[in-house]
């Protein structure tokens, strides 16, 4: 395995509806920004990995229609679609292509244009022989597993709301973030419309239009092009059983994320994640999930996640800032959301995160969450 680093990232402005740009144009914007950030041209790129959930837009073969926006002509191009993990899985695939020695420079681009389609219906297209008749989409499914998490751990709606407030406060320092709602309070979250008990509107991620790109290079190229590359130290993915009812208390146990984190930490030699990791960009589609991920990622003991948010440990000035970008709770173009986690973690290591930069980042964590069947963990470092 060769050493590989992220040498450039680029993203579009994310918004509820980017009527000014087609899918291909969003991809082109993110790609050209990443190329400029890396200081290379498309001609140096050896291969491209795309990430998109085409069902949401109802346009088949996006790797063909949209691939040109990524500069894909006459290059190896493939696409990955695994729900919310699509972007992190595409980043893992791109890393594998580079680390294996197949390619020296690999571009990963994820995008989604939810404004063009019917996302909630797409989410409800579950097994037609089994639960499609009784499907309640992403919000209903999250709310079900949250009821188990709340019963097991005793976290409060106020603690979940603090996660939602933190994300939106951080997003105001990120000019690319979709939701720009400055100064919202815990009370406002709790008074926002109830989607499915106990999940309020402001506890939930939005649906966004946007794209994000990441460029990997092998060691000699990375050192040539980048003054402070973001080295990939671990990239782990885990898959699980398909049906919502297959897994016992999945948000409580979240064995895919626990297993992936354990293996990633072992590879890097991390024994105290909260102390050793400098910043995390985790895939939190709903406020309660971030609390569950604190436990699954070993940031705290089981049942301690509420205390972590109460004590401000994961705020921008805390011991381990979580989602300085504003996270999925502020920006969620699904095919891009995982790429955004990796890009934002890499930007923190490279010192290019602008107004939401955490000082002196050496070790950064990114995660992906796909339905309830996949988890990805990626660790980046300055050395």
């Amino acid at each position: 395995m060769r050493r590989v680093a992220v040498i450039g990232t680029g993203q579009t402005k994310h918004a509820k509806a980017r009527d000014d740009a087609t899918q291909s144009e969003l991809v082109r914007q993110a790609t050209t920004r990443a190329l400029a950030d890396a200081g290379i041209t498309i001609h140096e790129v050896d291969a491209i990995v795309l990430s998109n959930m085409e069902l949401f837009e109802g346009r088949a073969l996006p790797e063909m229609w949209v691939g040109e926006g990524a500069g894909g002509y006459r290059k190896p191009v493939m696409k990955i679609a695994t729900g919310g993990t699509s972007g992190t899985s595409a980043c893992i695939a791109g890393y594998h292509q580079c680390a294996s020695g197949l390619f020296d420079i690999v571009l990963v681009v994820g995008w989604e244009k939810h404004s063009e389609g019917a996302t909630q219906t797409g989410m409800a297209l579950t097994d037609p022989l089994w639960d499609r008749n009784v499907a309640s989409g992403a919000v209903g499914n999250f709310a079900l597993s949250i009821s188990q998490y709340v019963a097991a751990r005793g976290v409060t709606p106020q603690q979940a709301a603090k996660v939602a407030v933190k994300a939106r406060r951080n997003a105001t320092r990120n000019p690319y973030a979709h939701l720009q709602i400055d100064g919202i309070t815990v009370e406002q979250v709790l008074q926002s419309r109830m989607l499915a008990d106990p999940v309020h509107l402001l506890d939930m991620c939005p649906q966004s239009d946007g794209a994000c790109a990441v460029i990997y290079a092998v060691e000699d190229r990375a050192k040539k092009f980048c003054p402070r590359p973001s080295w990939v130290r671990a990239a782990v993915t885990r898959h699980d059983q398909p049906y919502i009812g297959d897994l016992d208390r999945r948000l409580v146990t979240m064995r895919t994320l626990r297993d992936a984190a354990r293996e990633a930490y072992q590879r890097v030699g991390i024994t105290e994640p909260l102390r050793e990791i400098d910043v995390a960009e985790i895939y939190e589609p709903v406020s309660y999930a971030e609390l569950a991920w604190y436990e699954a990622l070993g940031f705290c003991a089981e049942g301690e996640a509420g205390r972590l948010i109460d004590d401000g440990v994961t705020e921008m000035n805390g011991e381990l800032p979580v989602n300085p970008s504003g996270g999925v709770l502020s920006t969620n173009p699904v095919g891009a959301s995982g790429v955004l986690r990796v890009a934002e973690a890499a930007m923190q290591v490279m010192g290019r995160a602008g107004d939401h930069q955490v000082p002196d980042v050496r070790l950064a964590l990114a995660t992906g969450y796909g339905v309830y069947a996949w988890s990805d963990v990626i660790i980046l470092s300055a050395d």
Partner: protein, 154 residues
């Protein structure tokens, strides 16, 4: 600058999903006999609903049918307030409605289905519930209208 436009498209689509042997048997028993059948793993002994040809944990082939009751225990619940488009009808589903993960008696997995109750203060994890069936059955989960609280606690 030219005014930006949106071009709408509406489609009516039809699919035909094959059942294989295991869903064919499940649908037959549900439709003709009002019985719910699960498959037991020969290795870990878990009883799976929905039926499937392989246990994901053991990668063992599943062949042993086990009858599962139409009563069970609530393992998770919510009241859904946000209307979603019902993927089987294309229409907005009226809200609010109760949803639960229900562990049917005899099964190791849980079933997501509707509850008659939509007041969260009347629900708790561990509650016993019973299926309410439609008169006409098609072999689909919608043959069950919803689940209601059992009067006699067991």
């Amino acid at each position: 600058m030219t005014e930006l436009l949106r071009v709408p498209h509406t489609m009516t689509l039809a699919w035909r999903y094959g059942t294989s042997w295991y869903f064919a048997e499940f649908i037959r028993a549900l439709r003709d006999e009002r019985r719910l059948l699960g498959l037991r793993c020969p290795a870990c002994r878990r009883v799976y609903l929905p039926p499937r040809p392989v246990c994901g944990n053991c990668y063992a082939e599943l062949r042993e049918w086990v009858e599962v009751k139409d009563s069970g225990t609530i393992r998770a619940f919510t009241i859904v307030h946000t209307p979603i488009i019902d993927p089987t009808s294309g229409q907005l589903r009226p809200t609010p409605y109760g949803m639960a993960l229900i562990q049917l008696d005899g099964a190791d997995t849980t079933l997501n289905h509707y509850l008659a109750e939509n007041d969260p203060s009347q629900l708790q994890i561990g509650m016993r519930v019973q299926a309410v069936w439609r008169k006409e059955r098609s072999g689909m989960l919608s043959d069950i209208v919803h689940f209601v609280a059992m009067n006699n606690e067991q």
